[in-house]
Amino acid sequence: MSTDTIEILRRAGAPIHPEPESFVKRYLFSIDHKVIGVQYFIVAGLMILLSGLFAEAIRVQLTQPHNSFLTAQQFNEAFTFHGTLMVWFGAIPLVTGAFGNCVMPLQIGARDVAFPWLNMFSFWTFPPAVLILLSSLAFGAPDAGWTEYPPVSLQAGIGIVFWTTAVFTVGIGATLTGLNFLTTVVKMRAPGMTFTRMPLFVWATGVTSILSLVATTALASALGSLFLSHVFNIPFYDPSRGGTVVLFQHMFWFYSHPAVYIMIIPIFGVISEVIPTFARKPIFGYKLIAYSTVSIALLSFMVWAHHMFTSGLGPWVTLPFMILTMIIGVPTGIKIFSWVATLFGANMRLTTPMLFSLGFLSTFTLGGITGIMLASVPVDWHEHATYFLVAHIHYVLFGGTVMGVLSGLYYWWPKFTGRMMSETLGKWHFWLTFIFFNTTFLPMHLVGLVGMPRRVAYYDPAYHAINLFISINAFILGACFLLLIFNMFWSLKKGPAAGPNPWGARTLEWMISSPPPYYNFKEVPEVYAQPYGYGEPLPYNAPYDQMSTTPTY
């Protein structure tokens, strides 16, 4: 940066950290939130693909009732890695680390997050954790599923030590990211941006950060005790010495239930940005969406035992958890209604991000409905540990999180690369993903209802035809991601220039050039109203009030 630019920025009240010249400081150990966000995106994206390969291996095994593609041991390792990689190394880093880092500071008009150096540190806990986890494949991989319940997890070999260390390490990064983001949201919003003027993605990121702060440390203690149980043989989970295995389930799910909201609340934020942009209408019920996010977060700490209905808790424990779990459906339903009401009467523009958001609305709602079914104790007793549960979790995590991530990816891609992706390919990608997602996971409800247990390498030949059908569709679903990868590389090389605001959106990140300059905002924006007033003048001071919100694409 020239000294002139520095002087301009200083007068504008913006702080300056000069753009580093060296490759290492610019792209590897960068303290800039945009670079760190992209780093998260690359590593977490690779983990999603790797985890997808594990899923495909599971499906190959299940094409035949007694297949010899994998041994039973390898099958256990495959579903353990699939779950572990998807949850901690794919979904959570994508929705917090990647989207949060890239978008949130821009949306509040800040130069960076509150603690840029800490942000870099958070990211760099991630690749070592990946290496630790993957190296366990060479030393006896963990094989008790992503939940690693004792005593099974403690009976296995050294793999559990790698697993706990890896998840602990990535958890440190997640906690510090939460701390960083919450401080940023509370303290660093642009002048005039009150809480109820924040974009809804910022609400979502802030609330997710609270969840990370409270819950991830609880996971750390659960992992710590599992680690100690294996290494030092302490009797927390050994019934023969006074311990109890249900204790682990409590400690684990006290984290892991909020964790499912860590994976979905940022996506609620993404959907709340995408839908008004392409409906060209103010979002319906801004405050309802914002406050229901908060109430979901609060309730998420009071429902963990609904994962443990079959663990032998008494009815005086399961009943309140059942009722509280069903209550969570209320704020979630409020959101769905608000989004649908935003669409009501709108002249929608069916671009790729919008299509994925609409896909999210339908598939996530279906996942939510099976969630209410499973919340009911008698139903859960029947369906727990069957493929019905697998179908439910994939409807909320694939139909919810992955659909939302793809929506956000197509939406913000032009902002951070400066180039458009191919809409034609994008629409093909959406329709194929949407169709084959449903043909893959919808039959799992059926096969679960008739009684096929999950996590089994061999099964009753009576379920053969339907499993073969699921597997074939799962292979096509996996292949759909090649379209996305091709589209990304095509866009980087040949995509048309995006311009600052191709979708005609109104949040602050679209008021600056694409990709954003290193210093983000040349002049500190001042905010006068919510960003969603389509049809009204932009609620920002000069020069941002002159920006065009006419879609150019």
């Binding site: 702080p15 960076d112 991830t216």
Partner: protein, 205 residues
Amino acid sequence: MAVHTEALEYAHHGPMTDEEYVEQRDLRFLGFLMFLFTDSIFFTAYIFAYLYLRSAAPVWPPVGIERPDVNLGAANAIALFGSGITAHYAMTRLKENRLSGYIWFTIATIILGILFLLGQVYEYHAFYHEGVTWAGSTFGASFFTLTGLHGFHVFVGVWFLIATFAQTLAGKYSPSRHFGLTAATLYWHFVDVIWVVLFFLFYIY
């Protein structure tokens, strides 16, 4: 509201202005409070585990194990709580720009902290001598895990105090700018408060 500063080491090469310092201090203060909060969840989870195991056991402490010696625990607690008081006065003295007072109170705090750690080592030694071990029983498992985690925090706190002490002697902190010292003192009080809970749970309840 000047909201656009960030880590100012990166931003400027000269000293911070007062306004920048206040902004930076407030950010770090909030961040540090969140850190302490998330750290307290660590203890909360293990305290939950302890209470859970305790309620699941037919008798507590398990047969053949005696409760920890409340006199030793109380002596230890007095050392730690006393160090909380001296840490508070050290901070006050620094704010009043009375450096010698700060020095003596901080030395007292560090010595009391080390005394606490020595007391804990003695207690561990006595327990192991009696055959109460980490792996031996659920009592041992929760006692050594929780007090060990706390002891580790005290250990870190002592080094935190020593580091900020050295920084103060080197002239880094002034009556108006002393965030590092505030953080160390706050951390020390946090460790104190945790011990209030642990002392009650293991020695009295």
